[in-house]
């Protein structure tokens, strides 16, 4: 047993109308990696915000004991002075500034009002070395990838002399390789005696890195699992998170007849819109049949979204070549409108960024891609629009008091359902779903899978793009594997395994 460095006792935090945290207890020992897991909205981030002083002392009940003394943080600076540093999910870096400038932003080296640039960059380089980043600290943030940006965030935390490092979803925007590197770096820090708290949705990573796992559900701590005393696997954690055993994470799909080819893409190549000599999608061919779920698995940056958007009315890319055949007819789709008219739907990856109009109600978002359906000669029939929104709300079991609710007020899972409703209302034959379950909790994921099954049962074709291997394996009839712009493998569901898929990616990397 190590020394307890942090103890949060009976923390209760209420927002108007909601008890976000209810008597939460958390004990972290010195030198361990402590994982905090739970569904979306369970209260993990709220707890960390209490700890780091974002919610100042007095706005919550309970006590925080750090290094044996009770802390009453009024602001973030107070907790940082004690060595508690939080790295948020969204990177807080200024793209136009250099790594060094970013690292000491708000914490500048030198005299008051006069920055000592030599010290800034010298110190920055020192910390960059500690996180294993070989870039110069003069390089601008926008010129390095997200994986390296995440490392800069960590270096920035180290520069604040962090003793307790909190990482909120540190790998959510990283690819597999970068994620693994980051986790290994955490293990390295642990050896040097650093204490860390990691919040993550990715349970395989949690299992890989954590010494202890605390499960949070509905604002309370459910249990703390010690990974050294017992065998912990993902199913064990999920049981704690949802409070019941999920025997099957993927609903069975039975008696779905696979029909004719609905869409065929041949020799599809797409160039980057700015760096036009770069091929983002390279000679890709795919088919999808009626009643079929085709998975496209690939890491972030493999060109999956680019492929989908270029097919969907050339919404991305430059110098697109190749042929597109829908229902046996070769066609060219010049814009999203033509794609929608050709019975194609693209459910975007980033539902907040380019999927939904958050400031508008569910009703408006549902009809947006098919205004013709609820209007005549440019005049909207609001009654009909309302009826449509209610119909899809009921069909997809969207949890909301009314369809007049603004989409921005819904949870991630319900937003995803509204997004699906919008595209289902365009009555497509082929749906491309880009990361349909990213950032939503286990229960909502299951419901989305059920919707996918209903779609193919109705004879639609579904192309599901995902970087979650279990999901691709659990849902697809056929899987394409994409790496660096090319398809590097195609497997039927019965022959695909995690190993065979990873093998084809590694194989292609060697070529």
């Amino acid at each position: 047993m190590g020394k307890v460095i942090l103890e949060m006792k009976n923390i209760t935090k209420t927002f108007p109308g909601v008890k976000a945290l209810d008597n939460v207890n958390l004990q972290v020992e010195e030198g361990e990696i402590h994982a905090l897991v739970g569904e979306n909205g369970a209260g993990k981030s709220t707890l960390m915000n209490v700890l780091s002083g974002i919610y100042p002392y007095g706005t919550y009940e309970g006590s925080i004991i750090y290094n044996g003394e009770e802390c009453q943080f009024q602001k973030i600076k107070d907790s940082e002075n004690k060595g508690i540093v939080i790295i948020h999910q969204e990177l807080a870096l200024v793209p136009q500034m250099s790594i060094g400038e970013n690292m000491f932003l708000g914490n500048e080296r030198g005299k008051k009002n006069a920055i000592n640039w030599n010290e800034t960059y010298g110190e920055a380089d020192k910390y960059l070395k500690m996180v294993g980043l070989s870039e110069s600290s003069h390089v601008l943030i926008k010129d390095i990838g997200t994986g390296k940006q995440q490392l800069v965030e960590i270096a920035k935390a180290l520069a604040k002399h962090a003793k307790l490092l909190i990482l909120d979803e540190p790998t959510s925007s990283l690819n597999e390789t970068d994620s693994r590197a980051l986790l290994d770096l955490m293990l390295e820090f642990k050896k040097q005696g650093m204490t860390m708290i990691i919040i993550s949705h990715k349970l395989n990573e949690v299992v890989y890195v954590a010494d202890k796992i605390t499960v949070v559900r509905d604002g309370s701590t459910v249990e703390t699992l010690d990974c050294h005393n017992m065998e912990i696997d993902e199913d064990r954690i999920i049981r704690g998170m949802v409070g019941r055993e999920i025997t099957n994470r993927f609903p069975k799909r039975e008696n779905v007849a696979i029909g004719d080819v609905n869409m065929e893409v041949k020799n599809w190549s797409v160039h980057h819109p700015v760096y036009t000599e770069r091929k983002v999608v390279d000679n890709v061919s795919l088919t999808v049949r009626a009643g079929e779920v085709v998975g496209i698995y690939g890491l972030m940056g493999a060109g999956r979204t680019e492929l989908a958007m270029s097919i969907f009315g050339q919404s991305y890319g430059y110098g697109i070549t190749g042929t597109l055949t829908i229902h046996g007819r070769e066609i060219t789709l010049k814009n999203p409108r033509e794609a929608i008219d050709a019975k194609l739907a693209y459910v975007t990856e980033d539902r907040k960024g380019n999927g939904l109009v958050l400031s508008n109600p569910i009703r408006v978002n549902t009809s947006l891609a098919n205004m013709k359906g609820v209007s005549e000669k440019g005049i909207i029939d609001v009654d009909k629009e309302y009826a449509v929104a209610v119909e899809y709300k009921d069909k997809l079991k969207t949890k909301t008091p009314t369809v007049e609710q603004n989409v921005g007020n819904l949870s991630g899972g319900n937003q995803q359902k509204v997004l699906l409703a919008k595209w289902m209302y365009t009555d497509p034959d082929i749906l491309i779903l880009d990361e349909p379950t990213r950032g939503i909790d286990v229960g909502a994921k299951y419901e989305i899978y059920c919707i996918i099954n209903d779609l193919v049962r109705a004879g639609k074709s579904v192309i599901m793009i995902s970087s979650e291997l279990p999901e691709v394996l659990g849902m697809s009839d056929r899987i394409y594997i994409m790496n660096e712009g090319r398809f590097v493998g195609e497997l039927n569901a019965d022959e695909a395994t995690q190993e065979s898929i990873m093998a084809s990616i590694i194989q292609s990397g060697r070529e």
């Binding site: 999203p336 400031s359 947006l368 891609a369 440019g378």
Partner: protein
């Protein structure tokens, strides 16, 4: 009932401010503020604000985009019309040319903004200089008088710019009073019909007392307003134009697909584009409309002044923008409505008039106006912050 008080207060905050300001001026000026003549002037003096703000609202909805050029366009178009009528061309032709002129200017600016992606601020800043210059060219630097009687009567200029009283006995304008009563009645009928239809279809409706209170307040305000107008000379002709513009634009923003697209583009342009909507057409529509409204603004302006001068319309764009923001339009786009800009325009008009009656120094009037705009935005930002 207590649950909704806060929401109602927030929604109608600017209305309450307007009433409060009106009553305050009434008290300070010893009742002069609410004299019939002043209420009349309030409308005809600010006709251009209502009209330009309606056009400006569409631009702002698309993402907080504004049109700095509309003041210059008012002058430019007005100049063309004045010169045409000075050459004894028919008023109707002049009106058509002015409206089409405004439309073309809007199309010109809209093209650069929508298709070439010139930032609206820059494109319309350029327009502001260019059309101011062209106004001078058209008018050759002089004031040109407008004497066409038909034109002046129809668009509310000169001395005799009121709808004639058909039942007149001199004292009280009966036509005007009747109009007010009819409008109130039509409003009540429409609201009730909508309510009954909604109930028949099983939609949730607001509680009856809420509808009733709203209807009573609105009817009382409308009848009071027309009664005041009747005590002076009746309905200013410019009010008819304002009414038409406001009705048409509230219909466009609330009930048409194009209106919906304006909100959607302002709310999330990427999502809108990927939903198969051509956002370029939406921008073009907004600016073409702004041009058209600038054309109408030009007509009303030269009619009221019975002349065109190269300096006309200066600062009009700012009045329109201010009316929109005071009326609750979001500076980031996607939020705002016609009812709001009416309140915004009235509030500005009342403050102007009240201070003029009090004899406040013109420079301080500007200071107060600035503070009102700032205050409205601060209120908007703070109330949204609490929501999050």
């Amino acid at each position: 009932m207590s649950i909704n008080v806060k929401a109602v207060l927030k929604k109608y905050f600017m209305v309450l401010v307007l009433v409060a300001v009106l009553l305050a001026f009434h008290a300070v000026t010893g009742g002069k503020m609410l004299l019939a003549q002043n209420i009349n002037n309030l409308i005809s003096q600010n006709a251009y604000v209502f009209v330009l703000a309606a056009g400006m609202l569409l631009c702002i909805l698309t993402g907080g985009n504004i049109d700095l050029a509309c003041g210059s366009v008012v002058c430019f178009v007005g100049g063309i019309g004045a010169v045409m009528m000075d050459h004894d061309l028919p008023a109707l032709l002049a009106v058509v040319v002015m409206l089409i002129g405004g439309l073309l200017v809007g199309a010109w600016q809209g093209f650069w903004i929508a298709y070439i992606k010139v930032p609206p601020f820059i494109a319309t800043l350029a327009g502001m200089y260019a059309f101011r210059g062209l106004s001078n060219v058209v008018l050759q630097g002089y004031a040109v008088g407008v004497r066409n009687e038909f034109f002046l009567n129809v668009f509310g200029g000169g001395a005799d710019c009121y709808v004639p009283d058909f039942f007149g006995n001199g004292e009280l304008n009966i036509t005007c009073v009747l109009t007010g009563i009819i409008l109130a009645a039509v409003y009540v009928i429409l609201v009730m019909r909508k309510r009954i239809a909604a109930k028949a279809k099983g939609y949730s409706v607001e509680p009856f007392y809420s509808t009733l209170i709203k209807a009573v307040i609105i009817c009382a305000a409308v009848i009071w307003f027309f009664f005041k107008l009747a005590q002076y000379k009746g309905i200013p002709t410019s009010l008819i134009w304002i009414g038409i513009v406001l009705l048409v634009y509230s219909y466009i923003t609330a009930n048409t697909t194009m209106g919906r697209y304006l909100y959607a583009v302002g709310g999330n342009e990427k999502a809108t584009t990927l939903s198969g909507i051509d956002s370029r057409k939406v921008y073009l529509f907004a600016y073409v409309n702004m041009g058209l409204m600038a054309g109408l603004g030009g007509i009303l302006t030269i009619a009221r002044a019975t002349q065109a001068q190269p300096t006309f319309g200066q600062g009009y764009e700012m009045d329109a923008i201010a009316a929109c923001f005071i009326g609750g339009a979001s500076a980031y786009g996607g939020e705002g409505n016609i009812f709001g800009i009416v309140i915004g325009a009235l509030l500005m008009g009342v403050i102007n008039m009240g201070m003029s009656i009090m004899g406040t120094d013109a420079n301080y009037q500007k200071v107060i106006k600035g503070l009102v705009v700032l205050g409205a935005i601060i209120f908007d930002v703070l109330s949204n912050k609490k929501k999050n």
